[in-house]
Symmetry: C2
Subunit: 423 residues, 2 copies
């Protein structure tokens, strides 16, 4: 099945906004085994829209159009859809009623120009938008089925996932049950993980499990797309592969599916009624920034300190004179973490100290990371060297700090060789 | 002049990467008074590429193609360009020599597959890439001039700005000298600034100054595009308009052109040999994160503390017992800022305390921001209420904190009504 996407709107065409709606749609379709063959962006312009609809209607089986369903005069999608389909625009009483209820619920009167949003091409199939006033719809143009979606990202997401993807899957004749299983890891490069997982797809001999990756340094996402006749079939197929991936990647799997590293850390601390203090250098406080705003973190996150100089770090955690370490070492990190924990009265403290190379930023630029995790019973530490430029070192240090804390909380070794460090 | 853009590559078409190259190109063209009428994305696929080139060649005057100039077999742009133009691929001795020198300079031998990058359509105009091995070129297909550019963002940027835009301007017959003047502000909404600036374009009666905006909450960018016969002419035209914009937006202009708010703050502190401590609640430390990593900040940024609870903030800056404020007020912010400054021995301290509403996140969710700036001579403070959801409050508080510090350092009033606050 050939799928095309048409993105509309002057804001996208002039680059005022980056077209994340498209990358989102393309990814979502890939995740269920469909793919986009062609994408077109045009502005809020009658002639361009008509031409784009007609061209796609000649080439494709299914077309997703994004944007142009709003109440203002530059929202033209319904009008041009009707023109391209050779039908009239008709008022949808259903949608008008829905919109009036939408406004009533918010104690507002519907402005008259919203009525335009209920004008749909004759014979269009209405596609529900449960969270907005832009009405989705489907209509045939040329030889393709066109699906019209709102430009507001959260409305698009809900409509695509709940309503359009099932319709596309039904049209494509693909088996209906599809599941995407994701593993998030830190410390192993894509080619390394690819090699480690050689042959896992073959555990299900009918080819219905597909392995894929998405690298976003420092994390790597390992994806298993599984197809089956129904959800039970999918689960049965996934089970042995899933188990094997967990065995082979072992301690490096930091989270699965919608979990995040910082969420896993927060969960582990919350479940033991723990609390956390964080001390950082050079990272600009990005460890705290990943963690402190999470819902539930208010009960766990105690205090974060960021500084550039070790002496400032020491002063901030109450280390003075002879008790303050003079250079960045594992021992220094241990002393700082312990002092920070005592000072804030938290169950855990994480200290990430970075000794940066001198000189201008370049690809060989590196830093030595000394990190320590203190509890009331012990202090664990690690020393690691990362090269690849200042930003690379910064990102790597933040991830390593959080991941070592995750390992510590899960009872896994905090020191385990990773692909990104120099030895 | 009708301009189209064709983006190529499976990574873009499958959504693995977000197409920021396109939004960058579209913006750059808008900035010089050109605009894109149509954008197409296709994958690394011969048939799609050929069809896209032919369609654009029928419709447009100029086409920018991005990507597909690399050394691997899925890089097809040169091959399909030659096919669409109806010419052969020929080896460019010039580019081969350039590439060999490129590798020699890096003490490497050129791998044989890089030779492919020197194969260009016969009669193509070579467009230099001073920082990579992907050779840019221009060729006629249909009735349009096609410009082929590399997918690597920094190579694309340099080639577009230095080589392609001048060629497009020459072809478009627009006056050659064009300048983009930008003002960054915080606190006034786009429609408010638009109203404040009514008539400024008319200060240059020949229509060669165009006003535009780019809103990215909490900041707003006000843009003046000026056209003239040469750079002197542009400067002469810009001067009265620029002066008028500065007068009308006044204290709200926080930076101009490539300056940033945090950069302006750093510059002001550096020039007086100042130093800074930052205390934040709820922001996850985003004020420090904006500032602490800047080159030069190591001499200025002393210490950052982030916490969720006021009691933690107080403990972190050494306020205990009766000296510690019990609730978030202007006075509390003043006490905390003064204590933080004394403790870290910095010339300046900024404290941003946020009293959040209770309950679930929603559009009416708000927070009360109490901020204070302490020096050794005085303490200045401000109280403000922002609504619009948790993330909105967080972003607003970070910007307000930095902007009040900027105002203080520049001798401007720290308290001045903004559009984003509730009264």
């Amino acid at each position: 099945m050939r799928i095309e996407v048409i993105c509309t709107g002057d804001e996208v065409l002039t680059g005022k906004i980056v077209n994340t709606n498209f990358s989102y749609m393309a990814q979502k379709l890939e995740d269920v085994g469909l793919s986009v063959q062609w994408e077109t962006t045009v502005g809020d312009d009658r002639e361009s829209l008509l031409q784009a609809f007609r061209l796609a209607g000649e080439r494709a089986d299914a077309v997703i159009v994004n944007g142009g369903l709003g109440p203002t005069i530059d929202d033209l999608s319904q009008e041009i859809a009707a023109q391209a389909a050779g039908v009239e625009l008709v008022l949808s009483d259903d949608w008008l009623t829905r919109m009036e209820a939408f406004f009533r619920k918010r104690s507002r009167v519907m402005p008259p120009n919203n009525r335009k949003q209920a004008m749909l091409p004759a014979a269009a199939e209405l596609i529900d938008n449960p969270i907005g006033t832009a009405c989705g719809f489907a209509v045939d143009i040329g030889k393709a089925r066109f699906f019209f979606t709102p430009g507001v990202p959260r409305e698009l997401k809900r409509m695509l996932e709940e309503q359009i993807i099932p319709r596309l899957l039904a049209r494509s004749g693909l088996q209906t049950a599809i599941h995407l299983k994701r593993f998030h890891s830190y410390g192993l490069g894509e080619s390394h993980v690819d090699a480690l997982l050689t042959g896992v797809e073959a555990l299900v001999p009918d080819g219905s499990v597909k392995l894929g990756f998405r690298a976003h340094y420092p994390q790597l996402e390992t994806k298993l797309t599984v197809r089956g006749t129904d959800l039970d079939d999918v689960k049965k197929k996934l089970q042995p592969v899933e188990r094997e991936v967990r065995t082979r990647l072992g301690n490096f799997i930091l989270a699965e599916d919608d979990q995040t590293l910082e969420g896993v850390v927060l969960g582990a601390l919350t479940s033991r009624q723990g609390s956390l203090s964080v001390i950082e250098t050079f990272t600009s406080g990005q460890i705290a920034a990943r963690f402190a705003h999470l819902p539930g973190a208010e009960k766990v996150f105690r205090r974060g300190v960021v500084a550039r100089e070790l002496s400032e770090v020491c002063a901030a955690v109450g280390l003075n004179g002879a008790s303050a370490p003079g250079s960045i070492t594992r021992e220094a990190a241990e002393i700082v973490a312990s002092a920070a924990r005592r000072q804030a009265g938290s169950t855990h403290a994480l200290a990430v100290l970075i000794d940066l190379d001198d000189g201008p930023d370049r690809i060989e630029f590196g830093g030595t990371i000394c990190l320590a995790i203190a509890t009331d019973r012990e202090v664990t530490s690690r020393r690691s060297r990362i090269v690849g430029g200042r930003e690379w070192v910064r990102l790597g240090a933040v991830e390593m700090g959080l991941d070592c804390l995750r390992r510590h909380l899960q009872g896994l070794p905090v020191v385990e060789r990773i692909d990104f460090e120099k030895v």
